[in-house]
């Protein structure tokens, strides 16, 4: 090895992540190169400091807070149960029966409305995506494709005006389609072209 060792080589050497031959070459180089030895010592010092950091104990009430949030998520009475209780209340008191009729009619209208919305969603999510503000654009390029962050959504260049796309919920997926794998590092919602059409992928 005639030139200086790269940063990656020195760092990987500390982690014993170099192949045997590369490690031997590097050790040979280090024995005669004070510059690389100094760089290696610098990195070693950083690693040692990080490793000396003690794991801190979480706040004592953290488990209780998590338990509460999980309870809120799961502990609400189911809609069916609540509806049943409400119906019973109205039927037991005859004076409230006309009000009950009105409530049922309103509920029916709401249901029909939401059915229409659901049908629309089946055909594709319609979402008005604000164009990224020029002064706060964060851009990343992955696999030669450029993505701009708009709010919390990454949008592939060229898809800013697209208002209709399918949603691919991959938020809990353990494995991803190969072609989407590189873009998972963006995290969250990403509007991109997948299999020739615009989709909104929801990554973990």
């Amino acid at each position: 090895m005639t030139v200086h060792a790269s940063l990656e080589q020195l760092s990987s050497y500390l982690d014993a992540e170099l192949a045997r031959r590369e490690r031997a070459e590097l050790e040979g180089h280090l024995s005669g190169c004070p510059t690389c030895r100094r760089r290696l010592d610098g990195l070693r010092g950083v690693v040692a400091r990080l490793e000396r950091l003690e794991q801190q104990a979480p706040p004592r009430d953290l488990a209780v807070l998590v338990e509460r949030r999980v309870a809120v998520e799961t502990g609400r009475p189911r809609l069916g149960t609540r509806l049943e209780e409400t119906v019973k209340t109205f039927l037991v008191q005859p004076s409230l029966t006309p009000i009950f009729g009105l409530v049922v009619a309103l509920a029916l209208i709401l249901y029909l409305f939401s059915f229409g919305v659901a049908r629309q969603q089946e055909r594709g999510t319609r979402l008005v995506v604000p164009a990224p503000a020029p002064e706060s654009v964060v851009v990343r390029t992955i696999e030669g494709r450029e993505f701009a962050l708009s709010g919390e959504i990454w949008i592939e260049r060229g898809l800013e005006k697209v208002a209709s796309f399918e949603t691919l919920d991959l938020s809990a997926a353990e494995t991803l389609p190969d072609e989407l794998e590189p873009f998972a590092q963006l995290g969250g919602r990403v509007i991109l072209t997948h299999e020739g059409r615009p989709v909104m992928a929801v990554f973990p």
């Binding site: 990080l50 003690e54 801190q56 979480p58 953290l62 998520e73 390029t141 997926a173 794998e181 995290g187």
Partner: protein, 193 residues
């Protein structure tokens, strides 16, 4: 003397716990929480540099773990899966706060996001801090993708392959990000002395 085979109790595996959770056993989630709480909290702490933020992030992580645990099929380890969620919760939190600005990518075609905590002022405040506080201040100066890799490796002790799995990036990129993260951290710590 003949040896009589003795049935040893089978260790509780991750999949056992998840199956118990699916069957409605609340203790299964508690067990998963106990196993990962401290590590997740410390990851969040080193990423955010703030105990309060770390506590909130930890809550978000476990809420998501609870929500999606049913869908976990054991293709990766539970720990890797939990940490993937944790890293993504941290990223989402940073995005919500809009604490980022553009920085040219030093090692690839990618433009990396850099996240800084505007409340920290490492140059002025670092002199008399403990090692942990000084490191936190220095870590805040390291761009997020590098910081994630360094914290997962040097604080949490994950292997390169595990980090690649958590961050969904190639091993070569892990190697590069760890190296650059360490170098940035070294410079940040030198700068405060």
């Amino acid at each position: 003397m003949s040896t009589v085979p003795v049935a040893m109790p089978r260790p509780v595996t991750e999949l056992d716990l998840i199956e118990r959770h699916r069957l409605g056993d609340p203790q299964a989630f508690e067990e998963i929480y106990r196993q990962h709480e401290k590590m997740v909290f410390n990851l969040a702490l080193r990423m955010s540099g703030d105990r309060e933020d770390a506590a909130e992030l930890t809550q978000e992580v476990f809420l998501r773990v609870y929500r999606y645990l049913d869908r976990f099929r054991g293709r990766s380890s539970l720990k890797t899966w939990v940490f993937r969620i944790a890293v993504n919760c941290c990223r989402s939190r940073f995005r919500r706060r809009r604490l980022r600005f553009l920085e040219p990518g030093p090692d690839s075609e990618q433009t990396l996001e850099r996240v800084v905590d505007p409340r920290s002022d490492p140059e002025r405040e670092a002199l008399n801090r403990s090692l942990g506080e000084r490191l936190s201040a220095a870590l805040a100066q390291v761009p997020l993708p590098f910081r994630e890799a360094v914290v997962l490796r040097d604080v949490q002790g994950f292997s390169y392959d595990e980090i690649a799995d958590i961050l969904r990036i190639r091993s070569g990129t892990v190697r590069s990000r760890i190296a650059r993260g360490r170098e940035r951290l070294r410079r940040a710590m030198e700068g405060e002395q």
